[in-house]
């Protein structure tokens, strides 16, 4: 990509015409209005999110253990016994920081999917660092969730070389307004986070097919590792992912929320986490702005709509923008 491409910009009027939502407008016009601060912890704390999802019968990764005290790090090996693979996650981490995936282990050596080997002491140290708040949103003491490792859905196999893609749906006042699949790359070290180098592909809300993608903030047509075109793939279990997102958003009580799920061949979409301040790169991945869709939802007075009508409205939105 040439320097000229990197320097190319749009005047504000052009962005407005495309209906692009900026960070300031997101915070002032939407988040502050529909996300009461007292409900934020439900999205920020993955254990609370999981509890809400479980209440509503939405599948979540099975929790093996929750580590809360420094003493728990010492008894780590006991808690991992009989778990051939697992994930360590800070309960209040953000942007995938502090997550360790273990693919196989013999109780002494723990292997991550990228082939890195960790000792039991390394894991204990990581748990201890996480507990003391190294990765938490506010730097306050945190908890560590030991949970089931989800496998990649086979439908994604041709698309990515490693890592597990996830599906993000942004829900506004109970209506899904935009979606994307996040595809890990070698650059993102198998993680599905955009700023770390994952590719995002927009999703047609009506059909569940992927649109073109974005990588490091710029449009791409093919996955950088596999060369497979990003567009035109069916997202497995799309309809159920959409329903799960609407359901969980209602349970959380947040009016503007990003719900991340991972498709599972047996259980359907499994909820990974909710984000009360979902990013705006999803607009680049979808090639259209959020504003017209948000305004359409506002005009429909969605609180008075029933479940089926909300789903229908979500599908209709794919024609806007």
């Amino acid at each position: 990509m040439s320097l000229r491409d990197w320097l190319a910009w749009s005047p504000p009027a052009e962005l407005r015409r495309r209906g692009i939502l900026g960070l300031n407008a997101r915070n002032l016009r939407y988040l502050s209005r529909v996300n009461p601060r007292r409900l934020h912890p439900r999205a920020d704390d993955k254990l609370l999110t999981k509890a809400v999802a479980r209440e509503r019968g939405i599948p979540v990764p099975e929790t093996y253990a929750v580590l809360e005290r420094q003493g728990d790090a010492a008894s780590l090996d006991g808690r991992l016994a009989g778990r051939p693979e697992f994930v360590l996650k800070p309960a209040r981490g953000s942007e995938g920081r502090g997550v360790v995936v273990v693919e196989r282990h013999d109780g002494r050596r723990f292997e991550t999917p990228s082939g890195e080997g960790l000792s039991l002491d390394d894991l204990r140290d990581h748990v201890s660092a996480t507990l003391s708040g190294t990765y938490s949103l506010s730097g306050l003491p945190d908890r560590v969730i030991v949970e089931e490792r989800l496998r990649r859905h086979p439908a994604f196999d041709p698309l990515v070389s490693g890592g597990t893609p996830d599906v993000r749906v942004v829900v506004y006042r109970g209506v899904a307004v935009m979606g994307m699949v996040r595809l890990p790359t070698r650059a993102s070290r198998g993680r599905a986070n955009l700023h770390q180098g994952a590719v995002a592909a927009g999703i047609d809300l009506a059909t569940g097919r992927t649109l073109g993608g974005v990588w490091f903030g710029r449009p791409v047509t093919a996955h950088p590792d596999t060369g497979t075109p990003v567009a035109g793939h069916e997202v497995p279990g799309w309809e159920r992912a959409l329903l799960a997102a609407l359901d969980l958003a209602e349970g959380l009580g947040l009016g503007y929320v990003g719900i991340d799920t991972m498709p599972d061949p047996e259980r359907g979409p499994v909820v990974l986490e909710a984000n009360a301040r979902p990013g705006l790169a999803i607009q680049i991945a979808n090639g259209c702005g959020l504003v017209p869709r948000l305004e359409r939802v506002d005009a429909a007075r969605p609180e008075s709509l029933k479940g089926g009508e909300r789903l229908r409205l979500s599908r209709e939105l794919s024609r806007i923008g």
Binding site: L7, R97, G98, S132, T134, V214, G287
Partner: protein
């Protein structure tokens, strides 16, 4: 309860108008009262070491002298009949610094040294804002010169914060911590900024390297931060000592980096490098330094400090601008690049 956006913008406008209005009124009343504008004067006389004992004499202006402050760091001095005297023992060098306010323009300092070579004299004078004869609490110009300097610096801090808000919410560049850049800039106000920059780079490098070693020791967060802080302080003190000895730079004593802030910055930089890669860390560092660089000229601008001391009500304007920025829901400048193109 919340006020609508229009309301906030109106209050902002009122503040922006009220500030200069109030200032103008006070200015006029000061002028009408015939208050003279003061000259802020600083004299420094210094003699180098010499085999014999000497007596350094500095004659102070006799008319209109106000608020005299003396500083003779090493040897006792006295004021006798308008003459400042400092006795220097054999083999030693030293000097006197004095700061005072004058109602008339100052003359050149008259200084002599009995028993040794002529002293080096540095004189600086600046015309300040008008002083009101009777001081109310709002009249900060009645404070002693050194306190006034501190107050001036404090009053510049909100302007740094305004610049920070502008940089983050309107331009859209991210930095390490919200007020790290303005606090960094504040530490460059006194002393030589080039030396300060070198010291900052060394301190950050030492902190970062130290943090890398600490990663292997696996400490908990607070002790780890404390170790980084200790390393940073020690590196800083060492730098000062080296610079002082080598005489490469003068005024090193003025560089006072915000150590705690730097320790936190090193910690965040390290975690971000580990988790998100060096590219993102460098981008944040560049943003932080760019904003700090933008704040430095503002904070070194002594006239601005003097004005703010004379008319603290200028900060009503600052508050008004902050309300406006706080309600700015348009695109950030960087978003014009970020959202260009897309998959349209």
């Amino acid at each position: 309860m919340s006020f609508g956006p229009r309301w906030t913008v109106r209050v902002g406008a009122m503040l922006v108008i009220a500030g200069p209005l109030l200032m103008g009124l006070r200015w006029r009343s000061l002028r009408d009262a015939g208050a003279p504008s003061l000259w802020h004067v600083r004299w420094e006389a210094h003699v180098s070491p010499h085999p014999g004992p000497r007596l350094l004499k500095l004659r102070l202006p006799s008319a209109g002298l106000r608020r005299l402050e003396l500083d003779h760091p090493r040897f006792p001095g006295t004021v006798r009949e308008g003459v400042l005297e400092l006795r220097l023992p054999a083999g030693k060098g030293g000097g006197i610094r004095c700061a005072f306010d004058l109602e008339a323009p100052p003359e050149a300092p008259s200084v002599s040294c009995e028993g040794g070579p002529a002293p080096v004299v540095r004189a600086a004078a600046r015309r300040g804002a008008a002083a009101s004869g009777s001081g109310g609490v709002l009249d900060l110009t009645r404070l002693p010169a050194d306190t006034r300097r501190t107050v001036g610096l404090l009053l510049i801090l909100p302007i740094g914060a305004l610049l920070t808000a502008l940089f983050r919410n309107v331009v859209g560049i991210r930095t390490f911590g919200v007020f790290t850049p303005s606090l960094l800039a504040l530490s460059f106000v006194y002393g030589d900024w080039r030396a300060g920059l070198v010291v900052l780079a060394l301190v950050l490098l030492a902190g970062f390297a130290g943090r890398g070693v600490l990663e292997r020791l696996k400490l908990m967060v607070v002790p780890r931060l404390a170790v980084v802080l200790t390393l940073i302080v020690m590196c800083f003190v060492l730098c000062l000592s080296v610079l002082e000895g080598s005489r490469l730079s003068t005024g090193v004593d003025g560089i006072l980096l915000p150590m705690v802030i730097l320790a936190l910055m090193v910690e965040r930089a390290f975690i971000i490098t580990e988790e998100d890669g060096g590219r993102i860390m460098l981008r944040l560092l560049a943003g932080t330094l760019a904003l700090a660089a933008g704040c430095v000229p503002l904070m070194r601008w002594e006239g601005l400090g003097e004005w703010l001391v004379a008319f603290p009500e200028i900060h009503l304007v600052t508050l008004g601008f902050l309300l406006w920025i706080g309600r700015y829901s348009g695109y950030r400048l960087t978003e014009l690049w970020r959202f260009h193109g897309g998959r349209a």
